[in-house]
């Protein structure tokens, strides 16, 4: 597998644009971008996860709605069973936990782990039973990004994400070039 080393901002941007290209509303696509950053800081090739998940945009919408409901107490727990892309679900929840004081956690067989303290994400997928909001504030400091660079990205997945993102671009025309910034001037002054 050929990989490419992106920056976090590149991971965020390509994930958000790919989500937009897949037809998700802009506000949801923004959250997909944040989820990709959270996952990629925890050892996951997030762009690959996002590309897989975008095969079923309705599931991403459902995951986001379920997490919103969890955060405001309308549901007690999200059962992991039934979600095709659990890492996307966990990434969306992780981004919420990182950006708010919501003490979201994953339930595994036998214990509960707050997302704010999670340092790796990929290995836990088989053991996750559900997502829940703990009823008390976490007293530990959140774990910062563990690395100054995100996990490496599979080049094929990156190309697929760029392909989805490209659906949001408008082909250049003579008119658009002529009306673009800086057109029609000489810069040899």
């Amino acid at each position: 597998m050929t990989t490419i080393q992106l920056s976090y901002n590149e991971v965020l941007t390509v994930a958000r644009k790919a989500a937009g290209g897949a037809g998700l509303p802009h506000g949801v696509a923004e959250d997909v971008g944040e989820a990709a950053v959270w996952l990629s800081a925890r050892g996951v090739d997030a762009v690959s996860i996002v590309v897989d998940a975008l095969g079923s945009p309705a599931e991403i919408l459902g995951a986001q709605a379920a997490i919103d409901a969890l955060c405001c107490g309308e549901t007690a727990e999200i059962a992991a069973e039934g979600w095709n892309c659990r890492l996307m679900l966990i990434g969306l929840a992780g981004a919420v936990a990182a950006g708010t004081e919501m003490n979201l956690a994953v339930r595994k067989a036998g214990n509960v782990e707050p997302l704010a303290r999670m340092v790796t994400a990929e290995a836990l997928v088989p053991s996750v039973v559900g997502l829940l909001l703990l009823p008390f504030a976490d007293d530990g400091a959140p774990t910062p990004l563990r690395s100054h660079r995100p996990a490496a990205t599979d080049a094929a997945a990156y190309a697929a994400a760029l392909g989805l993102a490209a659906k949001t671009y408008v082909p250049a025309s003579e008119l658009s070039r002529a009306r673009g910034a800086g057109a029609g001037t000489t810069d040899n002054d």
């Binding site: 659906k167 671009y169 070039r177 910034a181 057109a183």
Partner: protein, 564 residues
């Protein structure tokens, strides 16, 4: 909608200007730099930290082509500007983002590069967007020569004389940057790395440091070329002229959506400036030193206006009007008069309401400048760790209140009028840059960017109309996920009143140049020189201390440069 500038009172003594006034496109398009502008913060940090610039590498041929490295220590870290200068045929010299070659290219490097790293950067920096960069590369930039002025300065110095002051005043820079990339672009380091560094934590501090060092390089480059031509007769730039040579910048539409895409950050910038203004406004009296400073700055602003001329007819007319108003209002700052009134700054600002918006904003910047260091603490609050997050538990009744309190400006836009949707923002497939199209004559409106904030607000209001007050945002968005973006913006406005440009960005009256000037003024730019309604040239660091003078801190010309 309230049009008075003093409508919001946040505390008994601290009257903040209303966002309905401050955040209008026309007013942000009249922005001037202030003491809180980012290049000013950088200069103060460099001075207080005793920064010393070294030049460990200078390997240029007689024509000025080759490599150079400048290094300084700030906050316990070494940073280096790695500069590459190459021959460039005239036909390839373009300010446009679609250019593929430049006279010079630069990387701000984290540390001091060894030979291997310098070689890696030499392979990539001149290629800019086509290159690939790594986590030690903090900022990427490029610049073209102001060819005729560069040649004039080189020729003059080689002949043993200084460049003509008039030409220096007209141009003001030797190099003009056409992009300054940060925050992870093309693989360079992410912003959060710098946010942890003392000295570079504030907004755009690494980018400003890069530009300040590029300015130093430009001075050294022209002297090197001149000395190589005629070592016997060469003279270096006179210090006052060297100080007056800044760095040009050419900025286009790519910068315009930034303000709309970073509402929390925009708020923090404007909130800091408005807080500074409110503090100064609240002064009950001005002491003799402040009155003297006010008069001195008034003269300086007047001289700056006299030295600011542009080809753009619309802006030149505004500058001429401003010169007239400035002269007319000279009597306002008579010390005897100001000593006789209570709250003299508030009085001046109130009186300015009957002058142009340009006058009002220049006066606001001036009184902040007059207060000196009193407001420097506010610069520390201008960064944003992240944009706001959604609050899914908010009840729709609360969301409706926010809509009513902060988005009245959006709810009154008549979108049934074609003029209100005449334009659309999109990303061009070519170079992936934002552009602005005419809806009726250009393709791509089906792919427009979500900068239609006012229209989104109206769409949300319509869908909210029949929903119960006690319903949560979570339940609402489960049925209407298309409103997620605008709901988040509206929730942001609850604690960030200056987060939104309060005008319809699709309207045929929307001029992107106003958004550009707002952002560039926060950078600290002056001498705005629009080349159309969608791109402008500016000057950065003109009048600011050079590397050799930085220990002395800010000069009087840091605010609005004047060639004396």
């Amino acid at each position: 909608m309230n049009n008075r500038a003093t409508a919001i009172t946040t505390a008994p003594e601290l009257a903040m200007r209303s966002p309905d006034v401050v955040m209008r496109l026309r007013r942000i398009g009249a922005s001037f730099p202030t003491r809180l502008s980012f290049l000013r913060s950088l200069i103060r940090r460099l001075a207080s930290g005793g920064a010393t610039v070294r030049r460990p590498l200078w390997r240029l041929d007689d024509q000025g082509f080759g490599d150079a490295v400048y290094t300084l220590e700030l906050g316990g870290h070494d940073y280096s500007l790695v500069a590459f200068s190459c021959p460039l045929p005239d036909e390839k010299r373009s300010d446009r983002v679609i250019a593929e070659a430049w006279d010079t290219s630069f990387v701000l490097y984290d540390g001091i590069p060894d030979d291997a790293e310098t070689e890696r950067l030499r392979e990539n920096a001149p290629r800019q967007e086509a290159g690939r960069f790594g986590p030690r590369d903090l900022v990427l930039s490029r610049a073209n020569k102001s060819v005729r002025f560069f040649e004039h300065v080189a020729d003059s110095l080689a002949r043993g004389r200084q460049p003509e002051r008039e030409r220096l005043g007209e141009v003001g820079y030797l190099l003009r940057t056409t992009a300054v990339y940060g925050n992870g672009k093309f693989g360079i380091a992410d912003r959060f790395v710098l946010a942890e560094r003392e000295g570079l934590a504030g907004p755009f501090q690494a980018e400003m440091l890069t530009v300040w060092l590029i300015r130093e390089f430009s001075h050294d480059l022209v002297e090197h070329v001149a000395r190589s031509r005629a070592p016997e007769t060469f003279v270096p730039l006179a210090p006052e002229l060297r100080r007056h040579i800044g760095v040009g910048n050419s900025t286009g539409l790519g910068m315009a959506p930034f303000l709309a895409n970073h509402p929390q950050l925009l708020n923090n910038w404007v909130f800091a400036r408005e807080t500074a203004l409110a503090r100064v406004r609240s002064k009950r009296y001005l002491d003799a030193a402040s009155l003297d400073r006010l008069a001195e700055l008034w003269r300086q602003a007047g001289m700056h206006l006299d030295q600011w001329s542009v080809e753009d007819d619309a802006l030149m007319a505004r500058i001429l009007g401003l010169r007239g108003e400035w002269a007319e209002a000279q009597a306002w700052i008579d010390p005897a008069r100001l000593r006789a009134v209570s709250s003299p700054v508030a009085s001046l600002l109130e009186r300015s309401q009957f002058m142009s918006v340009d006058f009002q904003e220049l006066l606001a910047a001036l009184v902040i400048e007059m207060a000196g260091t009193e407001n420097d603490d506010l610069a520390d609050g201008m960064a944003a760790v992240r944009e706001a997050t959604l609050q899914p538990g908010m009840r729709l009744a609360a969301l409706r209140r926010l809509l009513r309190d902060h988005y009245g400006w959006a709810l009154i836009v008549a979108f049934d009028r074609p003029a209100e949707t005449a334009q659309f923002w999109y990303v061009s497939e070519e170079k992936l840059e934002p552009r602005l199209g005419r809806r009726t004559s250009e393709p791509g409106a089906d792919l427009e960017l979500p900068l239609d904030i006012a229209r989104q607000v109206q769409g949300l209001a319509a869908d909210l109309a029949d929903e119960p007050e006690t319903q949560t945002v979570a339940a609402f968005l489960a049925r209407f996920p298309q409103h997620r973006h605008v709901v988040r913006r509206i929730q942001t406005a609850a604690t960030a009143p200056y987060s939104e440009i309060r005008d319809n960005l699709l309207s045929d009256r929307c001029l992107p140049i106003n958004m550009l000037r707002c952002k560039l003024a926060f950078f600290g730019a002056s001498k705005f020189d629009p080349r159309s309604d969608r791109w402008t040239r500016i000057t950065l660091f003109q009048g600011a201390p050079t590397a050799g003078e930085i220990a002395a801190g800010e000069t009087d010309d840091c605010w609005l440069p004047v060639l004396r």
